[in-house]
Symmetry: C2
Subunit: 131 residues, 2 copies
DNA sequence: CATTTACCTACCGTGTCAATAGGTTTTTCT
DNA sequence: AGAAAAACCTATTGACACGGTAGGTAAATG
């Protein structure tokens, strides 16, 4: 299940792309347009700044802006940053985890196949595809 | 993220299918083979009985068995029962929920498309495909 | 220097997850 | 009849994530 972090984060990215005029866009405007509490969006956007998806600027005239063109972002990279992982099962989410039952596990192949489908879907989808 | 309920539930179903000899299979045997606490499996299996996936029988010689042939079960129906929903976003998980932003939501079409992919994948996959 | 904005820290109630614990009932086998 | 084996039932637990809210600090601009 994609949480609000991923869903709202994606909507912020779309909002930034749609309202891009070269300068910074204040979070308040985004919050109003998206009908999401500005306070909560602060948490969301903070992650996006840390993850290098957007750039922030303080002070009057400040706000946020994209660091790349919308067609250079994949939905996958956005969701992965916000959700931590995009994997559907715990055993595949952590790349370092080495399951002792992996040889005999009858479900692992299916989870792997499914994971690939999910991965492909979201990494082929560009932010620009959502505008 | 598929929780242990879904993952373990599926493994129990596979175990029941593989070890089917016509009679009931005690949970203890399943727990031993699958290396999962029997106590915890009780919770899992209870849901499966309530959902009509398996049949239980008390007393000596009791245990659990499938009610259908493995090829008649879809992985989708098993996961949906165990997880409550298989949808990737909250707005699609509850069929009765009517989002006020659905007309203008730029992400909804993508979630719907993705949901269909997930749904199709798991409902086409049969329990017998995992044996 | 006032205003606007991002940025930071802390907190909170609720719920789910992944179990564990201990007891009761049902059924069969001897 | 009685022991054993099994499902079945109720309760509890600790940890953590979710979805926020609150209030303050720092930075930039006009």
């Amino acid at each position: 299940m994609i949480s609000t972090k991923g869903r709202y984060g994606l909507r912020v990215m779309i909002d930034l792309a749609k309202n891009d005029n070269g300068s910074y866009i204040p979070l308040k405007d985004i919050a109003d347009r998206q009908e999401i509490s500005k306070k909560y969006l602060e948490i969301i956007v903070k992650k996006m700044v840390e993850g290098g998806l957007v750039k922030g600027s303080s002070g009057k005239g400040g706000g946020y802006k994209l660091v790349k063109k919308p067609e250079k972002y994949t939905v996958g990279e956005i969701l992965t940053l916000m959700e931590g992982t995009i994997s559907s099962v715990a055993c595949l989410a952590d790349k370092d985890y080495d399951c002792p039952r992996k040889k005999k596990c009858e479900t692992l192949p299916m989870w792997k196949e499914f994971d690939k489908i999910v991965h492909d879907y979201f990494y082929k989808k560009k932010l620009s595809d959502l505008l």
